[in-house]
Symmetry: C2
Subunit: 464 residues, 2 copies
């Protein structure tokens, strides 16, 4: 799909066409660039050339400048430190000088006309003057956005005007959509800094760390983007955890649902809140590498593209540290409501169960060991009461759960056979299996000390 001579537009066009199953001219792409993509003036130049490759890239959401080298400091960390110094009524000058140098170096390198010194002075005065923690942290993205807008010659939209928070610190999704879409309705190319917004009274609030991904998704939804491009320093997501599997393959295409499954099972991917707005709006997210702009990255879409070749599995993810509460009760299956009562006991302690495999007159409830711990004895006692001397209740720990996810598994009659054969060859005992009928995943439970071996066995069976 990639033409090495640089037929970039064609590439994107094909991706999008596949998603919708029809010829469509791409009209609007929202881009978000992470901190490492904006660490210095050289990275800013890469960003501009990426935007120039595809003129429909008309919105940009920047993070704050990240690390330029391994032991470098992120601007956001420096800002937090300045705030903490100010809160202790200590001078911030020396620390703020590091921030000042970072932005000045970028502005110099790009020959910007913007009066960066003046902006920096205002930020320094704000921090020293006792602005709150969120305001201080948000200045990294704010300043970065100012510089980028000047460099690109685009409009700068302060996120405090478009991203609305509730008093409790959560996003006001509805108001944000209303305000952002109004502010960007003129169609003018714009830079909207990530990570922060404001209460309706104007007080700046931030998302949790990494929240620029969320801002990007909100902007993409507001302008009805065709694609939301999330530019990072990796060429998309990997099929398995590289700490477990040696050099796992990249995922070229995945659905939001598959990604959510992998994410829930421990894969480190996008923040859930950064998927929700675009997933709802049917906008695909494309994870891209700023340092390899021609690499297609990972395309995340609501519906799977109509590919000719669909790999059987999309990814593998898992977790150690689950406990299994096993309940046997004579004639349980003839008793309406027993399973519900067991779940109620957990719910009363605020514990969410992961799986509930059921046999005849027996059921198991799989929960995180850490969630069970504070109430372990109490919960066992209550469930033992439900059993009424007609069975047994026991708990076993050290269960790992591994999800093998892939839309190619559906209606593929050999998938389960291959998966369990691979585990059998690796001499791994299966403690639990859970596969629902509408599922994109097979979930297996193994002993914690078989966790890594299981992930590898499954990976190498399906990926090679």
């Amino acid at each position: 799909m990639i033409d090495s001579t640089g037929l970039w537009r064609y590439d994107i066009g094909v991706c999008y066409e596949e998603l919708e199953g029809k010829e469509t001219v791409l009209e609007c792409i929202v881009t978000k660039f992470g901190g490492s993509s904006l660490a210095n003036d050289e990275q800013f130049r890469k960003v501009r050339s990426i935007l120039e490759l595809e003129p429909t890239r008309r919105y940009l959401v920047p993070s704050a400048p990240g690390k330029r080298f391994k032991d470098d400091e992120k601007v956001t960390d420096l800002l937090y430190r300045c705030h903490d110094l100010a809160a202790e009524e200590k001078p911030i000058g020396a620390e703020f000088a590091k921030i000042r140098d970072r932005y000045l170096a970028i502005a110099r390198g790009l020959h910007l006309n913007l009066d960066v010194e003046k902006e920096l002075d205002q930020v320094e005065q704000g921090i020293a003057g006792g602005q709150n923690r969120d305001w201080c942290a948000s200045r990294g993205e704010y300043l970065c956005g100012l510089l980028m807008a000047d460099y690109l010659g685009w409009k700068f939209l302060d996120a405090a005007k478009g991203v609305v928070f509730n008093e409790d610190g959560t996003l006001n999704d509805e108001k944000t959509q209303e305000k952002l879409s109004a502010l960007l309705a003129d169609g003018e190319s714009a830079v909207v800094p990530g990570f922060y917004g404001a209460l309706e009274n104007g007080q700046v609030m931030t998302f949790s760390r990494g929240g620029s991904d969320i801002t990007g998704a909100l902007v993409a939804r507001a302008v009805k983007a065709d694609v939301y491009e999330n530019w990072t320093d990796v060429s998309g997501f990997l099929m398995a955890d590289p700490r477990i599997v040696n050099a796992p393959a990249e995922i070229s295409s995945i659905t939001y649902k598959e990604l959510r499954e992998l994410s829930h099972m421990g894969a480190s991917v996008l923040h859930e809140d950064a998927m929700f707005p675009v997933r709802q709006a049917g906008i695909p997210t494309n994870i891209r590498n700023t340092n390899k702009p021609y690499h297609p990255g990972t395309m995340i879409s609501r519906d799977a593209p109509q590919e000719i070749y669909v790999p059987t599995i999309t990814g593998i993810a898992g977790h150690k540290g689950y406990s299994v509460i096993s309940v046997e009760k004579s004639m349980m299956n003839n008793e309406v409501g027993f399973g519900r009562k067991v779940l109620q006991v957990l719910e009363d302690k605020g514990i969410s169960f992961e799986h509930m495999p059921t046999g005849i007159d027996s059921l198991c409830v799989v929960v995180p060991t850490s969630a069970l711990a504070p109430y372990r004895e109490e919960i066992l006692e209550t469930i033992t009461g439900l059993v009424e001397n007609r069975g047994t209740v026991s708990v076993s720990d050290n269960l790992s759960i591994i999800a093998t996810v892939g839309r190619g598994m559906v209606h593929n009659c050999g998938t389960a056979a291959r998966l369990f054969s691979a585990m059998s060859r690796a001499r791994i005992n299966v403690r639990m299996i859970d596969q629902g009928s509408s599922e994109l995943s097979i979930i297996v439970g193994v002993n914690d000390n078989d966790f890594e071996a299981t992930v590898n066995a499954i990976y190498h069976e399906f990926v090679g």
Copy 2:
């Protein structure tokens, strides 16, 4: 284990020793003989020779005489017909003559001294005189027990004195245990007719058809039997339904729990109520063939015997006709109590669920289609309400569930692989998998039209 020269006692002894893991002298066996084992005088003779082979067989629970040939009538059916005639105030003489002939032929063939005519006259008068349906039906076992006690020279204990029913027609388990054990405390060999008992006021009540199995289990528990032998016309249970698998192998040894799993999934084995008393008391049940008295049959025990060779699977059973309610809800896994709420909806309609496989943000509930039918729309509507426009609810029908049961599966890392490979070779798509961590079974869901092929594929993989 079987010595063809007839070392029968040794054989039983070994069985029992295996069950308890120690040398034990068998002191007491309770036998129950089914209708076909008591159909005529020749069968009575077989019964006596079986009892003589093993003197510790000291109690006998008979059914009523069954069919002697394919189109013959069972005595119990004839008795019901007499009752119905009497209820319509029609003469019963011609119909009762058939019953009379059956018992007289047995008594003649065995040269009994008992005044059978007198007993038959009393029964006929009782039916004609308006005795209730249960009393009439129970006379088949009553008369059969009288004849057998006379033939063996054993004590006859009328079940009406020892088996106590509650007013609502259910068994009074506690009183029955109390009375039966007191009445049999003298240790004298006794015949106790099956199928019936009485209210405390003496009114005769029957179990459901086939209830003599229950009487046998109650007697076995009352006398603390070492083994409860259930003599029938088959040499034990089969590993699969012979209507699906051609000439399936017999099960030589099985636990009550395994049997319950197969029974619940549709295998036609013992009535649940006939297992409960002996299972609780730790008494093994031995299914035997009256016509092949040296065949060891199927031994059902509470704990698995310490066999040298444990077959991987014990049996396969399944059902067609399930429906799957599939629920997807965005971020469901982050919501405590959602699964419980879905089960509550079913419970409110008195529906028991079979399985609940869960994915990430999705769950399926498997229920019998027939149980769902009367409330289908209402239940879907209620669950749709729980989803709050953040997901979908759908139902698909025509799911078969197949349980592959076997204690040899535990800690056998290749079982799942073999099972799913066999299904894959047969081109069967897996719609659902459920295996809990303490389970003796793997449960798979397939399309109804793959049901027979699945049972055969699994059977031939493990049994050959």
